[in-house]
C-alpha cells in the first residue's frame, strides 16, 4: 500500500472491508482499552496535567504566531553547528532533496527511524525506485514494511497486525533461519527482529529520522522512541537526515520539556519514552561518534496555508495519537480505512488540509462528534469543531452528496414552519405507528435500510407530544 495514491474518498468501502476483516478486528480489540487506561493513569500521576496542557497550547499558539521568526532562528543555529537546512515546499521537493543527499554519498541502504513525514512524502517508494534500499528500524514499521503496508497508526504503526500474522511475515522474510524456531510470542519475535536489524544498522550509509520537535533556541531536533532505534539510525551512518514538518518547532529547551511532559503520557501512558534523543548537528572533532553530515529537510506541504485560517489550531498537534486511541470510529475500522498517512480524528482534520477537501472530504464526515478526541488531546485542539469547518467548506463547494443536501433542505423547510411541521410529523408518526402495528418497533423502514439492516427502529409511542399538549391545554 502506497501513500502516493490516497484512498480517502473510498473511506466507506474501506471501512466496510475493515469491519469484515476478522484478523484486523481481533487486533483492534486487543489494543483497545490498553492505551486508554494507561493514559488515564499517567495523566492522574501528575497533579498539574491540566496546567501543562494549557501551557503547551499557549506555547504552541505563540510559536505559530511568530513562526517565521523561530524558523529563521532555528536555521541559523543548525547552520552554525555545521548542518544544512533544506526547505521543501512540497512532498515532491522533499523526495528530490533526500534522493540528492543519498546519491551524493552513493548510498545503497538507508536506515529509517520512524517518521510520518517520510510516509507523507512517499520516501521509501522513491528510494526503492531509484535503487536504494530503505530499511525500517522501528519494530512496528519493520513489520509493516515486510507486509508491504502503510502504518495504520502514527505511534503504533502495526497495531492492526496480530501475533500470528507477524510470525508469518517473519518466517517468509527470514527464510535463512531454522524453520523450527519458536516465534510464538512478542518476546521471541522482538528478539529475532532485533538480531536482524542489528546487522542492518552497520550497512547503511544514510540514516533518516523524524523529529518530535525542533528547538529554535538550540537548533536541535528531538526524537523519542522506546526501542532506541532512533539513536542507532542517526549515529551510525555517515549522513543523518532529519525529516520534519515546520510546525514541529518550539522556541526553547524549556518549551521542549513542556511537550515531552505531555507526549508520552498522552501517547502510550508512559511518564517518559524510554529514549529521548537530542541531536545538534554533525559530529565535532572531539565527538566519539555521530554522522559526518547533518541535514534537515523542513517540509511545508500546505501547512503554511493553514496559518491564519480556522485550521491553524491543528498545527499545535504533537502527534501523540491519543485522539485515535480514544476514537470509537478509529477503534471500529482501524487506520488504513482512512486511506492516507494520518488516521483518526487528527487525520480527519489534517488530511483535507494537506491533500484537499475534494480528496479528503469523507474523513471529517466520518465522526459522530462525540468529542472524546478533544477531551484527551494534550494540546486541546478542538478537533470536532474543525471537522465541522471542513463540512462547511464541503457544503459551500457543493461537494456534500445531493441526497444529504436535499434531505436537509426538505427538513429545514418544515423546521422553519412550525404549523406545517406539526402537520407533517402528525401524519408521519401515524403512518409509522400503523406500520409497526403495536409491535413497538419496525424491522424495516422505507429509505431507512441503513438503520434497519442491523437494528430495529423503535416506533412512535402515540400522538406527538405537541398534539397531546395542545389537547390537554386547549
Amino acid at each position: 500500500m502506497s501513500h502516493a495514491h490516497p484512498t480517502t474518498p473510498a473511506f466507506k468501502s474501506n471501512a466496510h472491508d475493515a469491519l469484515a476483516n476478522a484478523n484486523l478486528q481481533t487486533a483492534l480489540r486487543n489494543a483497545r482499552g490498553h492505551f486508554v487506561d494507561k493514559r488515564t493513569a499517567a495523566a492522574a500521576r501528575v497533579d498539574t496535567f491540566e496546567q501543562i496542557r494549557d501551557a503547551g497550547r499557549e506555547m504552541k499558539n505563540h510559536t505559530l504566531a511568530h513562526l517565521d521568526l523561530y524558523l529563521e532562528e532555528y536555521e541559523a543555529r543548525v547552520t552554525a553547528a555545521g548542518g544544512h537546512v533544506h526547505w521543501a515546499e512540497t512532498a515532491e521537493d522533499a523526495r528530490r532533496i533526500v534522493l540528492e543527499i543519498c546519491r551524493s554519498v552513493d548510498a545503497k541502504t538507508v536506515n529509517k527511524g520512524k517518521t510520518m513525514i517520510s510516509e507523507e512524502c512517499g520516501i521509501n517508494d522513491h528510494l526503492a525506485a531509484n535503487g536504494i534500499t530503505p530499511v525500517e528500524t522501528d519494530l512496528g514499521e519493520y513489520i509493516i514494511q515486510l507486509r508491504h503496508e502503510a502504518p495504520s497508526h502514527i505511534i503504533a504503526p502495526a497495531v492492526h497486525v496480530t501475533v500470528p500474522e507477524i510470525e508469518a511475515a517473519f518466517r517468509k522474510a527470514h527464510s535463512h533461519l531454522p524453520p523450527d524456531r519458536d516465534l510464538s510470542d512478542n518476546a521471541t519475535l522482538q528478539m529475532e527482529a532485533r538480531r536482524i536489524l542489528r546487522e542492518k544498522y552497520f550497512q547503511a550509509e544514510v540514516g533518516i529520522t523524524g523529529a518530535n520537535m525542533l528547538i529554535a533556541e538550540t537548533g536541535q531536533s528531538v526524537i523519542v522512541t522506546n526501542e532506541g532505534n532512533g539513536d542507532l539510525s542517526q549515529s551510525l551512518p555517515r549522513v543523518h537526515i532529519v525529516m520534519a514538518s515546520l510546525e514541529k518547532l518550539v522556541p526553547t529547551l524549556d518549551d521542549a520539556s513542556t511537550v515531552l511532559r505531555l507526549l508520552a503520557r498522552s501517547a502510550t501512558g508512559q511518564d517518559m519514552s524510554v529514549y529521548t534523543t537530542f541531536s545538534s548537528g554533525p559530529r565535532r572533532t572531539q565527538d566519539p561518534d555521530g554522522p559526518e553530515e547533518y541535514h534537515v529537510v523542513l517540509l511545508d506541504n500546505g501547512r503554511s496555508n493553514m496559518v491564519g485560517t480556522e485550521f491553524q489550531e491543528m498545527l499545535r498537534c504533537i502527534r501523540c495519537g491519543a485522539c485515535m486511541n480514544h476514537c470509537p470510529v478509529y477503534q471500529a475500522v482501524g487506520g488504513h480505512a482512512y486511506g492516507w498517512v494520518y488516521p483518526g480524528p487528527m487525520g480527519a482534520v489534517l488530511t483535507p488540509s494537506l491533500i484537499g477537501v475534494e480528496e479528503g472530504g469523507q474523513l471529517p464526515n466520518a465522526s459522530t462528534f462525540c468529542g472524546r478526541c478533544e477531551s484527551v488531546c494534550p494540546m486541546k485542539i478542538p478537533l470536532p469543531k474543525m471537522m465541522r469547518h471542513w463540512r462547511e467548506r464541503e457544503f459551500e463547494k457543493r461537494l456534500t452528496p445531493s441526497a444529504a443536501r436535499y434531505g436537509i433542505a426538505l427538513w429545514a423547510f418544515f423546521a422553519r414552519r412550525p404549523a406545517l411541521y406539526r402537520f407533517g410529523t402528525r401524519l408521519g408518526m401515524k403512518a409509522l405507528r400503523r406500520m409497526a402495528g403495536g409491535r413497538g418497533r419496525l424491522a424495516s423502514l422505507p429509505l431507512g435500510g441503513g438503520w434497519t439492516g442491523q437494528r430495529d427502529f423503535p416506533a412512535p409511542q402515540g400522538k406527538t407530544f405537541m398534539d397531546q399538549w395542545k389537547e390537554k391545554r386547549g
Binding site: 462525540c370 408521519g428 430495529d456
Partner: protein, 252 residues
Amino acid sequence: MPKPTVALFVTCLVDMFRPSVAFATIKLLEQAGCRVEVPAAQTCCGQPAWNSGDTKTARSIARQVIAAFEGFDHVVAPSGSCGATIAKDYAQMFEAGDPWAERARALGAKTHEITSFLSDVMGVQGVTARLEAHATYHDSCSGLRSLGVREQPRALLGTVEGLKLTEMKESEVCCGFGGTFCVKYPEISNAMVGDKTRNAADTGAELLLAGDLGCLMNMAGKASREGRPMKARHVVEVLAGMTDTPAIGEGE
C-alpha cells in the same frame, strides 16, 4: 420567591417518538417548583444542519429558537445533545458584532439539560420515585463532554427507591448514533452500538438508561434485533416514576 418559569424544549425526537419523556420532564420540573411553558413555535434545534456544514440554515433555525425562547427564566431540554446545541453552538453561529450573537449567548447561558438543571440550578437532592430494577447508565456524548452531565443523573438515580445501578465498561464511549452519522455510516454505527449493547448486557442489568432519545433509540433498536432481554428508557421516566408505559421499542 416567585416560581421560575421554564420553557421546555421538547426536542424533535421526543415530540415525535416518545412524548412520555416530555411529560416526565414537566413533572420533574413542577416537582422542583418551576412553572413550565411549552413555546409553540419550536420544531428542532437545527443540529442536523449545523453538523452537516449548512451553517446558513442552522443560523436561520437558531434565530427562530432564540426568538421563541429568550423571554423565559430558563430553557430546559430532556437531551444533552439538543441542550448543548442551544447552550454552546448557537453562539458560534453568528459573527461577532451581529446582534444575534449576543442574544444567542444570553439564551445559551440559561439553557440546560434536565438532570443538570434539577441538580445544579434547582438544587434538587433526590426524587420520590420507586422502581424495583437493575439498571446501567450510558453517558451520552454531548451531555457528558459539552455540558458536564455525569454525576447529576447518577446522584438522582441513586435516590430512586429499589433501583440498583451498575456501571458498564466504557459507559462514556459513543453509542454510534451521532445524528446523521448513523444514516451516513450505518455499518460503523452498527459496530459501535453492538459494543455498547454488549457492555451494557455484561453488567447483568435489565434496564438501560440514558439522557438522550437518539442514543436510546439506537441502543434499544440494536438490543431488540440481537434479542437481548434488555429494556431502554430515558432517565427522566425513571426519575419521575413514570415507567408504566412500554419501554422504548417494546410492544404494547
